[in-house]
């Protein structure tokens, strides 16, 4: 368990702008996310939540400004080092992004194989996380034979199996029923308690209210404090 007062930044953004062609997706974003933070990035659709996450794992490059992950300046990372950066993250997507023709076990083990871990360690680690997310009995199943909630639990297992420093979750409960969403959020809370920084992009106010955590509100590409109504979320503002 990490000391709650440990406030060293794992992510820093300085005056970050991002454009898609002539369209401005993010405008002058400056923020800090600390070690063992549990952060919601929220706002209406098209506010730039997903774009902000993509900048962190370099699926998109900033148009202007600086992003630092664990002290590394992303604009200076050579292409060959990008996979190493991404191993700092566990990423969860709304559409799960599981490989359809590979078993649950193989989907999860992929992260460790890609990191060059030993076969024995992979076996042990994957079984352990599948047990944690309650999918141990379905490890030979193919993703399409699972329910949405089960698929997202596999995605969570894949995100945490490499012991990442940071979990990025983009609308992780967006296509789940309440029970499945509850299970996924409990898992993320559990990961956070064990010391991982968790960043969740969601527009679901109820989810934020129920879970609690720091909230970053985006509106039309800007971090917006004035439009934030604390009582709507029942939790702290950035």
């Amino acid at each position: 368990m990490i000391d709650a007062d440990d406030k060293s930044s794992v992510i820093r953004m300085f005056h970050v702008h991002h454009n898609y062609g002539t369209q401005k997706a993010l405008i002058d974003i400056t923020l800090d996310i600390f070690k063992n933070d549990f952060v919601f990035i929220t706002g209406p659709s098209g506010a730039g939540k997903t774009t902000l996450l993509k900048l962190l794992y370099l699926a998109e490059a900033v148009t202007e400004g600086q992003v630092l992950i664990d002290g590394m300046n992303l604009s200076r990372i050579p292409r060959k080092r990008v996979p190493f950066l991404r191993r700092k993250f566990g990423i969860i997507f709304q559409d799960y992004k599981l490989i359809a023709n590979r078993s649950v076990f193989d989907n999860v083990s992929l992260v460790l194989e890609a990191a060059g871990k030993k076969r024995r360690l992979i076996q042990k680690k994957v079984r352990s996380v599948l047990r944690l997310v309650g999918m141990e009995d379905r490890q030979t199943a193919l993703p399409l034979s699972l329910s949405g909630g089960e698929q997202q639990r596999v995605a969570v297992a894949r995100a945490i199996v490499g012991d990442p420093k940071i979990i990025l979750a983009d609308e992780p409960t967006g296509s789940l029923d309440d029970d499945s969403a509850g299970i996924v959020m409990d898992l993320l809370r559990g990961v956070h308690i064990r010391g991982t920084t968790v960043i969740i992009a969601t527009h679901d106010k109820d989810l934020i209210r129920k879970t609690g955590g720091r909230v970053l509100y985006l509106k039309e590409g800007r971090l917006d404090a004035s439009s934030f109504i604390e009582k709507d979320y029942g939790t702290s503002i950035f």
Partner: protein
């Protein structure tokens, strides 16, 4: 890790069976055609060398040349570049040989009043000088001598055949290059289709931190396997065809004269390696383009 890559390559092969079979057939066909060319060249070269082994130039002398001049002439020819041996065949000996060769018609010669055959030198070329140009040059030199009536190098047609063969060789190189490029192009395209059908998977791999090496190696192994398998199939088909054709040829024209050979182990190995290179190059080119995008 190597086992994992190999396992993944085999899985990919199974999951994209149709595309992989198309690639395999393309490689097999290219290898079959190129190997057939190689087989043709090897055997044709061997036949030509076999014919060239007996290459000789006959210099027929003018009538009534004194013996002393003949000795001089023989010495001159013997010292020419490329000449291995010079044998004098007198007109009497020549007639005797002719009679021996024409046993049944030997009686035809009984009524001859005068031996019509000329004295001659039989000139054998050294092994190093058996190129057609050298033979021609030597023949021209001998023919320019005053004592020489006529020079004949009986296998003149061999010169023409050599020229045609050289043309074939050139065409063969061009064909091999074209087939090599076509095979690389087709393999690259089929692997590109495989990659395209798996673009989501590749994208996921990249997102979870897979290095490009991790993504590429199974495709490279797949390309190498396709190359090796394609070559094995192509060579096997060629071998069956060879057995069939060789048995017919040996019973016919070349009966007892010449053994037609299949590709040696060394050449077969080189064909397999080249085919693997084709498979790898196809994978390399399509991955390079895909992962850049």
């Amino acid at each position: 890790m190597a086992l994992l890559f190999f396992k993944r390559a085999i899985e990919d092969f199974r999951n994209n069976r149709l595309l992989n079979v198309v690639t395999l057939l393309t490689i097999s066909l290219s290898i079959l055609i190129v190997s057939a060319f190689i087989l043709f060249f090897i055997n044709t070269s061997a036949i030509m060398n076999f014919w060239k082994t007996g290459l000789r130039v006959m210099a027929y002398l003018k009538a009534d040349i004194p013996r002393s001049e003949m000795l001089d002439l023989r010495h001159q020819i013997q010292t020419m570049s490329g000449v291995e041996s010079v044998k004098f065949i007198s007109k009497e000996e020549a007639l005797k040989q002719l009679k021996a060769q024409m046993k049944r018609q030997a009686s035809l010669f009984d009524n001859l009043v005068k031996n019509p055959l000329p004295d001659a030198f039989e000139i054998r070329m050294s092994a190093a000088a058996q190129s057609w140009e050298k033979v021609e040059f030597l023949a021209a030199q001998i023919e320019s001598m005053n004592e020489v009536e006529e020079v004949e190098y009986g296998q003149k047609w061999l010169g023409r055949f050599t020229q045609i063969f050289d043309l074939f060789t050139l065409t063969g190189y061009a064909m091999c290059t074209i087939f090599f490029m076509a095979a690389v192009f087709i393999v690259a395209n089929t692997i590109r289709l495989v990659i395209y059908s798996r673009r989501d998977e590749i994208e996921i791999m990249r997102l979870v931190g897979a290095a490009e090496r991790f993504i590429k190696i199974p495709f490279y192994i797949q390309g190498l396997l396709q190359g090796a398998l394609g070559a094995a199939i192509g060579l096997a088909v060629l071998f069956v065809a060879f057995l069939f054709i060789a048995s017919n040829i040996e019973q016919g024209f070349f009966s007892g004269l010449f053994n037609i050979q299949f590709l040696s182990l060394l050449i077969s190995g080189a064909v397999v390696l080249t085919s693997m290179l084709v498979g790898w190059l196809g994978s390399y080119l399509s991955l390079k383009q895909f992962l850049k995008d």
